[in-house]
Symmetry: C2
Subunit: 523 residues, 2 copies
């Protein structure tokens, strides 16, 4: 979506670049070296039905505007435009659109394909929600084909109407169905965008990780991707109250929703006609009712349910499927995540941690960890001597534990895996530890578009290294090479972690004790 | 909204620039030389009530994210992302937000203030709807303070509930009320953004012109602005079927809407609680019913009604108010407007007009104008010898007639006025005549952000001239100066028109005969 300053004329419609897909020609634009195709329809779908393929067309279809994104339940304006600028496209159920950035339209180029799974998971978000998701710079920097896509989510993506007849037997798999259909479209068509359908890397962050892990548990997707890079997500199971199965909860939520709409098994077909806002209001009320029964803390993720067929078990409970063992992965997260002092709720004192005296830091640590605080502080200083000791207060060791657990599960099936931790502090707000999402512009080589992240000479060097690692992975299944410092593969008994910071380096088992201390103190 | 590549570090929150408004401090950002404040709340309002001032606050309020925009009736994705990229912010009734771009926060600077009235008029649009509306480049190029703002529109802006009691006596003036409140906020506060409250220029396009003309008919706004520049709008009155007054239609539409919602005079207060989508659906149905009665062609503009008090008469019917005679104006429009071959409906033959033979051009002209076509073609070649004669088919002489009518009305009250016509063809689609909105990026000095408009060495030269003319106007009330070719003021008996094209020049009475021929042939 970047509408940054053009330095040369963009190729305009009469002579714009045509990609010759199986179904017909698609006309994008060329901006400097990059061919951009926005809003290609990869599937069609009726509400609560699995998607179907798009039919062939004559002449050429323009792909210059991004497509509709899936309707959200609410779209509040973030306080975070400076750290994470958002891009909001109009919302419509008819949202099966993908975007492509590439340096060539030659079938013989066979460049690696990097498919971005956006955050927000099964509930919200879109392929263009964050400015950082724009694929132009990544495609240019890495000479790779970048793809991002929208799919249905929340009530449209997974309301489980299976009790209401055969027609809706798969209604809870609409979101997953869109993802599968998109990956199949890529397999069939990416070669005419210069991409290699036999070398596809999935990468994603937060809710995008959840979607990648489900894709890896889905046999229908085997062969549609070949490498994986995940950031900050997928570490926790949906919590299911005792006495229920996940399926039972999904069906119950659907039942309550249908009742709210005044429908029954006989009239269920009408659920396809309600305006989205009425449907979502009914689902919201149904969720409230469910909370009354299951507890206020209960929160439904709108994720598809492992049925042993489309989705074989859960990564966390059952481990990765053996069939995925040849997929190399990079797995990591950021230092602060949702614990960062970026988040207003996490603020302590005057909020400017880098102004605090040693005494203030000690006081805050004592308030948090009681008598353990001294040991924790000492250990933190040993592990991260270059950090302000105050940073320990905003560290998210739990997310890192979770990512290392995923690493362990990869090692169990013999997969190659590399681990990383993004620890770059931003000058924002007088010093802000890395927050959930803060690594995305580095991976996409988009740091100079983000006000709070761009530090000339520093952040641009780091994005070169990170982006190169992801690109190396896409090319060869190994993040090493070029400007990336030597990065050891994970071993069963040794945790090698690439620290992405002003200086990048690999650490060995560096924070085991620190995380143990924090875990103990938290109990 | 441009998130273009930063070349230096943006100033981030702990040390970001503070503007000290009457009510409290506002914290924006600094991007290179420009201070940017996004989403400043200038008023509060309850649904169907006139706005009220925002109260004072302590600490500083961040202004880094654009504010909510007024809900639309529908938001379709345009086919026009390449010629006119759009930016869609989340929609909410709570939409009284303005944005400021300035080069200084010094009260002593007293720079001219340019206040943009966005298109879409009383019905749709927002201060950030088009990328071209971004004020950074204009502020930098002209060293001026640029302001843009959102206000209520359509059903929220002007549903006339005056029949339902004193509380709603002014409900049809909510949109106008927001505009007035915004201009008052600027008067009170713009000095702390380096602006001169005694030198404010309103500029706007299309529906923005309608709003400017209403502002000029509103005595409460006298003294809140000092110069005006209008583009392509405000030339036609709302059509009112015989036997009705405008007020009667407005009240009837409100009555039908209230009925659709199942409300009455007793329960009217509940209209403030309906979800927006239900309200707008009722208004849509009410409008349909009105069409049944008044004819399918009837279309309601949601504009406020001249009441002789808040709004004194209509510009077109009653002429400009004498009180505005000291306001200098520039008035103009573009060559093709909605008649441009950009619009799919206007396409003729293969659509590539610049490929046509003389014979093809003649055939299309004959189909359109019958036997008059030869005279018209000859005259067009005389008037615009550098144009492809095919362009006559896509010329909008009616809009130009309308703008010259507004010019005439200015001259009637003795106002200074300059006229222009934007005629730059784009290479887009093999040659596209200037379309409705195509001049906006030139006025804002944003051409290099628009794929279909940027032609290095050509469009950037033209934007320098156009932007300079608007900036000159803002500084001195006269568009002449600097790189702008000498531009004669309009005279009663002579039409001087600045032609903005690859070469800019002033023509005298150049197209009177051509417009007469076209008018005659159209009859």
């Amino acid at each position: 979506m970047f509408c940054d300053k053009l330095t040369e004329k963009a190729i305009v419609l009469s002579d714009n670049p045509l990609a010759k897909t199986k179904n017909g020609n698609i006309a994008g634009i060329k901006k400097s070296s990059t061919y951009i195709f926005r809003g290609i329809k990869y599937a069609n779908a009726e509400r609560f039905h699995m998607p179907s393929k798009v039919g062939p067309w004559e002449n050429s279809k323009p792909a210059v505007s991004y497509g509709y994104v899936c309707p959200e339940r609410t779209t509040p304006i973030g306080y975070d435009a400076q750290v994470c600028p958002h891009y909001y496209m109009p919302q419509d159920e008819n949202c099966q659109y993908l975007n492509i950035w590439t340096q060539s339209l030659d079938r013989n180029e066979k460049k690696p394909v990097m498919v971005w799974m956006h955050g927000g998971g099964w509930n919200s978000g879109s392929s263009v929600e964050q400015y950082a998701y724009d694929g132009e710079e990544l495609s240019k920097f890495g000479n790779v084909v970048v793809v991002s896509f929208n799919h249905r989510h929340n009530v449209l993506g997974s309301l489980d109407l299976s009790e209401y007849g055969e027609e809706y037997a798969k209604s809870s798999y609409c979101a997953m169905g869109d993802i599968i259909e998109c990956l199949k479209w890529i397999k069939e068509n990416i070669s005419c965008f210069g991409g290699n359908p036999e070398n596809v890397m999935l990468f994603g962050q937060s809710g995008g990780v959840a979607k990648i892990l489900y894709t890896m548990q889905c046999p229908e997707c085997d062969g549609l991707y070949h490498k994986v890079a995940i950031d900050s997500g997928g570490i926790k199971e949906q919590i299911i109250p005792e006495g229920y199965t996940k399926k039972q909860i999904a069906q119950k939520l659907a039942r309550l929703t249908v009742e709210k709409l005044g429908l029954s098994k006989q009239t269920i077909k009408k659920i396809e006609e309600f305006p989205y806002w009425d449907l979502v209001e009914a689902a919201n009320q149904a969720e409230e009712k469910l909370k009354e029964e299951l507890g206020r803390d209960f929160s439904w993720r709108w994720e598809p349910i492992e049925d042993g067929e489309l989705i074989i078990g859960s990564t966390l409970k059952n481990g990765f499927r053996k069939e995925t063992s040849k997929i190399p992965m990079i797995i990591g997260n950021v230092f602060g995540e949702a614990n960062s002092n970026l988040i207003p709720n996490n603020k302590l004192g005057d909020g400017y941690k880098n102004h605090w005296s040693d005494l203030q830091i000690q006081t805050f640590c004592k308030e948090k960890w009681g008598n353990e605080y001294e040991t924790i502080l000492e250990e933190f200083k040993k592990v991260y001597p270059d950090n302000n000791p105050a940073d320990v207060l905003f560290m998210d060791y739990k997310e890192r534990d979770g990512q290392l657990n995923l690493v362990k599960k990869r090692l169990e099936i013999g997969g190659d895996v590399w681990n990383w931790l993004f620890k770059k502090e931003s000058d924002f707000n007088g010093g802000t530890v890395a927050w959930h999402c803060s690594e995305i512009p580095f991976v996409f080589h988009n740091v100079s578009f983000i006000e709070a992240s761009f530090e000339p000479g520093i952040s641009d060097q780091l994005e070169d290294i990170m982006c190169q690692a992801w690109v190396n992975m896409a090319y060869s299944g190994n993040p090493n090479g070029g400007c990336v410092p030597e990065w050891n593969k994970m071993q069963k008994d040794n945790i090698y972690t690439m620290i992405f910071d002003e200086k990048c380096k690999v650490e060995k088992n560096h924070d085991i004790k620190l995380r143990e201390l924090l875990k103990k103190a938290d109990k």
